[in-house]
Amino acid sequence: MPSRKHLEADAALAELARLARRDLVDTAGPSEDARGWAELRESLARNQNRSRRSTMTWIFAAAAIVAVLVGGMGVLIGRPKPIEYTVEAGTIDEGGYVRATGAAGPTIHFSEGSQVGFLPSSRGRINSTSRDGAQLTVEDGGAEVSIVHRPRAEWLVDVGPFAIAVIGTSFKVQWSSAEEVLEVRMHAGIVGVRGPLAAGGITVKAGQRLLVRVRSGEVRLDPDRGEAAGGVQDDETDDLGRGPSNDDGVITNATRPQADRRATGSRPLEARNWTKLLTSGEFRSILSQAEQMSIESALTTTSKQDLAALADAARYLRRTDIAERALTAERQRFKGSLQAKEAAFFLGRLAEDASRLRDAVSWYDTYLSEAPNGSYASEGLGRKMVAIQKMGVTETARQVARQYLDRFPRGAYAVAATQLLDSR
């Protein structure tokens, strides 16, 4: 018989699922439906033309069949197994809880080379493993985490109320549930941290230390003078397959990642899947392929998804020139699409980074008018406020601050907006 606790959990989650079912429905009307079908028919026709042009398509069609057999109807063939692990100086019980067998903290060794060493007196567990990574929880105390970078690696470390998303990196994390303080010290790579006071996510890079004091509402992101200032990783490529970066965060080209070497050789345009490369962190490979076919050609002939991936890869690698051209091409070629609207926001970001504040405000305005409830509406409005303030037009910035607080009273820029309004 199910326990009371079990019934309570069922009831609570059923209520939240009910909300999702009620609010997240298909709202496409007949005109959207017709437009969608017309667009699909066009894409299918383009695909058919391609297949007439190139026998290579058959190879990709065959690959697609294999992909669906493996990915979609995988029961027929079976899927790759999740990574495995062993525990040193500890045991793991049925619920995945890791328990130390001595004074030292237990260390988990994963089959693909990653390892997580719990600090003494820490508590944690393994929630799940997949072929691409694992999900762990540090309930109290801390851990030294070292994740091997692999394509499609996907690791998540839950620390108290925070979640740390990792591709491949090494860092030390500590959480005090009594004090409600989180500390992340990055040795190498990059992670994204989300949680209280960081709902929108905070990027922490090699050599940085993030400190979040939940109770006092303090968030600090500083250079880590204590442990990582010397740089654990100096001349090698970082975990995302990029060359080393200097103090200004500019990425040098000293080391050419493996993905680039794989990318040499000509392939038909339709075979490119830059979104997948982007997901694997192979940003340089995308740029390399685009340069190989000529940037101009990439901007004018690639698919909507590939063009967006090229723009993202260029932004992440700080190739602002290419990023701007790709985003502009997205807006011209795919006018009205979601990507074209978001391109306006990213053009604003690039302009802001280059201190072209007037341009930045103009792009944020464009984005906000095209996608008033879009994914980046909050950030767009917040950034517009900050940019106008930097331009010295304080009264206008205050008007934007009011708008922001009206729409996003708990948004990431709410504190800045309030301070701006109080600074009279």
Binding site: D23, E32, E39, G72, E154, R194, G201, E379, G411
Partner: protein
């Protein structure tokens, strides 16, 4: 004497081509494999809403789904030659859609790491809108954001889309036993996260007149 001459005086109605109805999935799937153009449109009409709904419910509030729906159908039509059981059309399309959504979640995850951005949906309630429900839904999806793409998809298909376990297993390409075990673990994990979210606890308490951790 032919029939036309006999019917002199009757109103002449131009003959219209009636599109085939393909009532069952088996008929529709078979027609699709034969390459009948009308069948493709019928698949779009019959399953477009389902595909868009799965995408929307998996990605969560604030996302536009059209591009992903296009991607799902494009992949599906490319893979039709590998559809061996015409009657399995629906499950095949769900499996393809699931793959598209999982790719989208991973892509989003990379974007989040490289440039974490606020994803606040406008918090100002629309007229007639229940702000507490919108906030609860937003926080619920923030919890789902903490699951892997596979776990999140499994959870949404089973508990929000209310598919049966065999359908979820087929969509994810794993065994029934694996899906059961996995969903049980995900369910427990999500509940633990819900318990730790004061706003959700308050919402559920008010809603049900009891605390989720009672």
């Amino acid at each position: 004497m032919n029939r036309a001459k006999m019917d002199l005086g009757a109103q002449v109605v131009p003959l219209q081509r009636v599109p085939p109805s393909y009532e069952s999935d088996a008929e529709l799937g078979a027609a699709l494999i034969r390459g009948e153009a009308a069948a493709a449109h019928q698949v779009w009409k019959r399953y477009g809403p389902l595909v868009r709904r799965i995408i929307k419910r998996t990605l969560g509030p604030g996302y536009e789904v059209d591009d992903y729906a296009q991607d799902a159908f494009l992949r599906f039509f490319t893979m039709v030659p590998s559809l061996q059981e015409p009657k399995a059309l629906r499950n095949f399309l769900i499996a393809v859609t699931t793959n598209v959504v999982r790719d989208a979640l991973k892509y989003r995850w990379v974007r989040r790491i490289m440039q974490p951005l606020s994803r606040e949906v406008s918090e100002k309630p629309a007229p007639g809108d229940d702000a507490s429900e919108r906030e609860a839904l937003r926080r619920f999806y923030m919890i789902l954001d903490r699951l892997s793409a596979d776990d999140r998809t499994a959870y949404v298909l089973r508990f929000i889309e209310e598919m049966d376990l065999t359908e979820v297993a087929e969509a994810l390409g794993c065994s029934l036993a694996t899906v059961k075990r996995r969903l049980s673990a995900i369910h427990k994990r999500i509940f633990k996260m819900v318990e730790r979210d004061p706003a959700l606890v308050e919402y559920l308490t008010t809603r049900n007149g009891r605390s989720p951790d009672a």
